[in-house]
């Protein structure tokens, strides 16, 4: 049963924000190294983060009841990996300006979405605490 202070939702939204920050950090790093010879563009992917959450076996997800298991996990920190399938320039750098700007904008939008939902949730809790005032 869901109540107003459902922690799983708050935790899941918090993790979405953490993921967005990680993606933003990686994109900003790539942009910073736009002209560094030999630098390879990196990315943080959702699949990696999900694997981190669930362990390497897919079993926990099947065993637990739906979204609650994802909501209950502790953190959403994920590693990064090199972007595959992009051509490197002659100096060995594989950062693409447009790709990184899109990634940055998308991550920022994801963060905003989660923040809006979380703010609404908090507003609801505050409303209840103040007895509807």
């Amino acid at each position: 049963m869901n109540d107003i202070t459902d922690n799983a939702i708050v935790a899941a939204l918090g993790r979405q924000m953490t993921r967005a920050v990680a993606r933003e950090t990686v994109a900003a790093s790539n942009l910073a190294n736009l002209d560094t010879p030999g630098y390879k563009a990196r990315e943080a992917t959702f699949a990696d983060a999900l694997d981190d959450q669930l362990g390497t076996t897919p079993l926990p997800m099947a065993a637990a009841s739906g979204g609650a298991s994802i909501g209950a996990a502790a953190s959403a920190a994920g590693g990064t990996r090199e972007v595959e399938g992009v051509a490197a320039r002659r100096d060995g750098n594989s950062v693409q300006l447009d790709r990184e700007l899109v990634a940055l904008t998308r991550a920022s939008a994801d963060f905003s979405a989660a923040q809006t939902a979380l703010a609404a949730k908090f507003r609801l809790v505050r409303y209840a605490i103040n007895e509807g005032r």
């Binding site: 990680a22 990686v26 942009l31 920190a77 700007l101």
Partner: protein, 142 residues
Amino acid sequence: MPSLFAAFNASASALDAQRTRIEVAVSNIANAESTRGPDGQPYRRRDVVLGSAPVETFDAALGRAEAVGVKVNGIVEDQSAFRRRYEPSNPDADKDGFVAMPNVDVPEEMVDMLGAARAYQANITAIGLIRDTITRALDLGK
């Protein structure tokens, strides 16, 4: 947790590096005709060497997404040969009437400067987006 401020610092380091590139390109263009420097030699073209540098090593140690900034590893002099121009009236001319001119190619410097300016702009955009995200996060406390 990767911090937004680390990302901020990464972008800021890039602004610093790109500004250095622009400064060096400008000084190259300014001295494209300088046939005598403090050492009596013509001006040598300078080049910026960029290298990536982690902003916070702690995140990487934990296997998390880390912010990687950029830093100027050094400014090196281009050792390619000077251009030679026939100008017998110039006090710096050798006995055959040729003057050694700086090894600066002005169009090349202009292109380099444009690239640096574009990269600067891209990082300004990144800083704007990160700032927006930080503002949104702070709004939660209202």
